[in-house]
């Protein structure tokens, strides 16, 4: 069945519209064709990826500027993925002024497109700063961990968009009706039985790494987790889903008894994975590291509750290795207002907004080995930033930073 477009959509494609809108419509229609969609659907919001200048380079920046110059404007609420640096405190991160200017130029192009009402606050956790779709809403999100959260925790429907594809969806307010927008593609493909109950956020991250490796692009159904009543449950789901999406390409998972869209247990024909111990998840992401020179918390971006836990862990301690927390700017502002930043900074830690270390010029900033309680963070630090990694629980990471252990 060929792709059917409405009169309005065809008009945009034929060039009656601005060049910016025509290009966006061409991208949306081409992706819909490629994936076999029969029609386009409206989207409630968009999350854009491809923000770091380190990844975009001169060509990406040039293209974004040109699109903005042509009059590209978002039609639906749109938020932006993290940048390579804190847009205000980049000097404290050791970012070179030349790089900072180019990163800011990327943000300015998105601001001109009307992202976040013209003043973008880059984050991989848009759902913590107000981009929080209602259950059943169709959205077009890039950023694999946010995609996982939208589908699995919020009960929205989104595919895993790429950078330009997400921008095109924001400019047209549409995406193709394919993939996870279709109920038949939201069915379970892997049953996961967890024997060892994960406790810490890092444990959930380790579990997610193992499930992601096994599930690949599928839809896992995880049994044996006691989510009900846990005040950190949203954070645990964030850690679990982010790791699944990094070590696999999981965009949707179910947790038995805790998912917004209750799923009947999968039938006997669905393959089964038994997770008996989480140590193998940690082992995936531990290099031979003699000395850690940065501890990074906040992949995905930390919530207020997570910052409070770090503040408690650092209380009265003195750091020998820098410990950086990354989060959305409104979350940082709230942490400062609630007095959570003070004990962290008193110990020698730092709270950075907007930034993600996985896409930062980490080696140029002088770091060679990084410890983090995030499997996703460790995976991308190793593979994108090119540094050695130690993936361990927060307590161990803090002990490393204070010099209690190496």
């Amino acid at each position: 069945v060929p792709l059917h477009l409405t009169d309005q959509e065809r008009a945009w494609l034929s060039g009656d519209a601005s060049p910016a809108l025509r290009r966006a419509m061409e991208i949306v229609a081409a992706l819909a064709e490629i994936y076999g969609a029969e029609r386009l659907i409206p989207v409630g919001s968009v999350q854009i990826s491809g923000v770091s200048y380190r990844n975009l380079g001169a060509a990406g920046l040039d293209f974004l500027r040109r699109w903005a110059d042509e009059g590209a404007r978002v039609r639906v609420p749109t938020t932006l993925n993290p940048a390579a640096m804190d847009l205000r405190d980049w000097r404290a991160q050791g970012i070179a002024p030349d790089f900072a200017a180019k990163q800011q130029a990327v943000i300015d192009a998105f601001a001109r497109m009307g992202v976040s009402g013209g003043s973008p606050t880059p984050t991989c956790t848009p759902y913590l700063i107000g981009n929080r779709p209602a259950p059943g809403t169709s959205v077009a999100w890039a950023e694999s961990s946010a995609v996982s959260y939208a589908n699995s925790v919020l009960g929205a429907h989104t595919n895993r968009e790429g950078g330009p594809g997400a921008i095109a969806a924001a400019l047209t307010g549409r995406t193709g009706a394919y993939g996870l927008h279709q109920p038949e593609n939201r069915r379970v493909t892997l049953r996961v039985a967890v024997a060892q109950q994960p406790r810490t956020l890092a444990d959930y991250s380790a579990l997610g790494a193992l499930v992601g490796q096994a599930a690949r692009q599928g839809v896992p159904y995880v049994e044996g987790l006691s989510g009900a009543g846990d005040p950190l449950w949203p954070e645990k789901c964030k850690a679990l889903g982010a790791a699944m999406a990094a070590l696999g390409a999981v965009a949707l998972y179910y947790v038995a008894g805790a998912s917004p869209t209750p799923e009947a247990p999968p039938g006997p024909d669905v393959p089964r994975l038994d997770v008996d111990d989480l140590a193998s998840g940690y082992a995936l992401l531990n290099d031979d590291v003699a000395r850690v020179d940065l501890v990074w918390v906040g992949c995905p971006h930390a919530s207020l509750a997570e910052i409070a836990r770090v503040a408690a862990a650092l209380h009265g301690k003195r750091l020998r290795v820098p410990l950086w927390i990354t989060c959305a700017r409104p979350v940082k502002d709230a942490a400062v207002a609630q007095g959570l930043a003070a004990p962290i900074e008193a110990a020698g830690g730092r709270l950075f907004a907007d930034a993600c270390m996985a896409i930062a010029p980490v080696r140029e900033m002088g770091f060679r080995a990084v410890a983090t309680p995030s499997a996703k963070g460790a995976y991308y630090l190793r593979n994108l930033a090119g540094v050695k990694v130690r993936f361990a629980g927060l307590a161990q990471c803090v002990a490393t930073a204070t010099g209690e252990t190496r």
Binding site: A59, F63, G163
Partner: protein, 149 residues
Amino acid sequence: MTRKEAGDRREGAPCTFEGRVIKAGTAEGAALVSPEPIGFLGGVDGETGVVTEQGHPLEGQCVAGRVLVFPTGKGSTVGSYVLYQLATLDRAPAAIVNAESEPIVAVGAIIGEIPMVDRVPIAEIHTGDRVRVAGARVTVWAEDLTTPA
């Protein structure tokens, strides 16, 4: 494959295929055919258009101005911007013909304004053939445009 091996069908009259338009446009050039997928980020130099992926069948060849024929794309989504960059530097392929398109190259062709068609039997096209892409139609002349007559 030499002309002789390609068979009599390829002598004289051109072959025509109807594909699926990914980026509408018209272009003509000498075919550069890869039996393997191409990843533009890390696989093709963004300033020269030379294929740099080690061990790739097209390693060392330049895509600029050619009708680039390959099964499908691969690799990082940032590869779309490499195609855009090649287009701004006038080093992009004249057109792209795929067996089955995927999003990275498709988006790159759209933002780089490179005519692109997929669902074409690419095994029928050989490096050096003269190829014209016009909308969904791909016309192939079995000439050897790469070596002097």
